[in-house]
Each structure stands twice: as C-alpha cells, then as structure tokens.
Symmetry: C2
Subunit: 176 residues, 2 copies
C-alpha cells in the first residue's frame, strides 16, 4: 500500500482507441517539453504494475520511460516479447496475492497502469489514490478507464493542476 | 449557437445511477451554500433544452431552479406531467430543426441538459461548449454522460475551478 493509478483519459473516459491507439495522446502540443509531473511521480513509487496490453504499448516505445521495477500482470504470457523484455518481470495470480507478494519484496508504493488491471483492483477496492489527467478531446469510442465491476467508492480531491494544452490533472485519495 | 452543456458527473462519467438516482450528487457537503457558478451560468443563456428523463428528475424538485425558458425535447409526451408543467414547453423533432426553431425565437445561447439530448447533439457536432463538474466518487454503474455516437471532437480548455468538497469544474470550447 498504497496502490496508485496515474493515467490520462479523453473527456469521455477512454485511455486508448478501440485498436489500442494513443496517437491522440502523442500529438498533444508540448512546446515546453513538460513531463506533466511524471518524473516526480515516479520518484515516489517503488514499482509499476501493468497489464499485458499496456506492456504491448510501451514495448514499442523508443525509450524505456520507467525508473522503477516494472511488473507485468498476465495469466497468458510466460515470456515477455520485445526489446524491453529484460526491463520487466511477469507476475501471475489474483491481484490481492500479487500485491501482497510485491509488498513482501519491499514494493509498497505501486503505480498501477492499464485499464483491465486498474478495473480489477478497483473491483477489490485495492486502489488508494488516482491521478487522472483529462485530455480535451472526445474520442467517441475506445478502451475505457473504468468498468462496471466496482461498487460505489468515495474519494477525496487533493489538488488539480492545469498544463499547457488544456490538460487537467487531478489527484484523489480513497476515502475509507 | 452556441449550445452549451453544463453538467456534473462522477469520476467514471455517470450523470445518474442506473435508476436515475442523484442522491450521491445531493449529499455533497456544501457548508457555504455555493451554487458552483450556476446563477452566473444561467445569466448568460437564453433557454434550456432538456430531455424527458431530465425533466422527470427536475419535476420532483421543491424549487424550480431555472430563470430562463425551459424546453423539453420529447417525441413521446404531448403534455408535461407534474407541478412544474406550466414552466416548460414541449418541443419535438430532429435536434437540428429544434435548435433552428429556438434560434428563430431568439433563444441563441442554449443550455443543453440530459444524457440522451447531449449525446444526440454531440453526434451531430452541435455542442459548442461544455462545462463539466467532476464529483469525487466512482459510481461503478449508471447513466453515462457520453455515448459512442459521436466522432472524434477536439476541445479547447479555458478554465478549471475547484470547489469545496473537491468538485472540479472545467470549461471547454469546441475547436473547429
């Protein structure tokens, strides 16, 4: 603990297009080369837990953007594909067990990434914090950040920052 | 023109629970009795266009909250039910025609309310501005603000205000 979501979505709540495309995210004008606080965020986490599909997206990146250990939650893969495979480790099992195992290894502050992974942790009320950046676009369709598997969960808003290009980043803590 | 959305949603993008319930919206602590800028907003519109279901929600309110003419877009009702019926007028037809007819009557700045009505105008790219207030709660399920009927639509962020209780209100203008 805590398990933290850090993600960008369209105004209609999609994290990618239906085909997984994130071109709409990549083409945001960024003249000041802002990282939108990402390096600061990485400095306070111990590791990243992502789903297989998110790994498939980042494996195509030219640069490996993570400065902390990355764990890929997959029940289907036994070996990670691509050039970044040595950078990440496969973890298997139920989310509760996976988180407990990571905590046992000293990975306590976990950056949780990927729609399916986030939804599965939310359905178990295992998310403690969410940092969500809203991109000023309606995609109309795509892969949603949230699903219908969780019960009603209240959060406390702590801060909102607005970045160049109209990106609105809000931070929420789970109210228990 | 312009047609303006002014609405509150949960973090997962719902405007009401599955049964239409908005108790989660009503129970937001509001010690300063803020109207979150609603009166200011009403002062710059000429009329309200809402769907039948939204009318069914506001007809139960103890007070009539609108200071401008209200039009209820319905293809099924011929007479409005409830005590506020004299306050509103039924309009019928395709959104494009309905908007044109309202514009002809001098109703140019239109507050568009209700999930179905908003979605149907978005599918025709008839929304020029959106003021969306995010409530810090995940409902898990409900009536969504956005649907899958619109194409990709870009917006320009103009401002974000944060209110007591962690409500984040952002204003967006359609980029054409």
């Amino acid at each position: 603990m805590p398990n933290i979501v850090y993600i960008a979505t369209s105004l209609d709540g999609y994290i990618a297009k239906v085909d997984g495309g994130i071109d709409w995210l990549m083409e945001i004008p960024n003249p000041e080369q802002s990282d939108y606080g990402f390096a600061d965020f990485l400095s306070r986490i111990d590791g990243v837990l992502m789903g297989r599909k998110t790994y498939q997206i980042v494996q195509d990146f030219d640069q490996w953007i993570y400065t902390k250990p990355v764990f890929v939650l997959t029940q289907t893969l036994d070996v990670l594909p691509g050039k970044w495979a040595p950078k990440a480790e496969i973890v298997k099992g139920e989310p509760t067990e996976v988180i407990a195992a990571l905590n046992n290894r000293g990975i306590n502050n976990i950056y949780v990434d990927g729609g399916k992974t986030i939804q599965s942790l939310l359905s178990l009320d295992l998310i403690d914090e969410m940092i969500i950046t809203k991109i000023p676009i309606l995609l109309g369709d795509g892969i949603p950040l949230f699903g219908t598997g969780n019960s009603e969960l209240k959060f406390e808003h702590t801060e909102t920052d607005v970045y160049y290009g109209g990106l609105v980043k809000s931070r929420y803590l789970r109210k228990r």
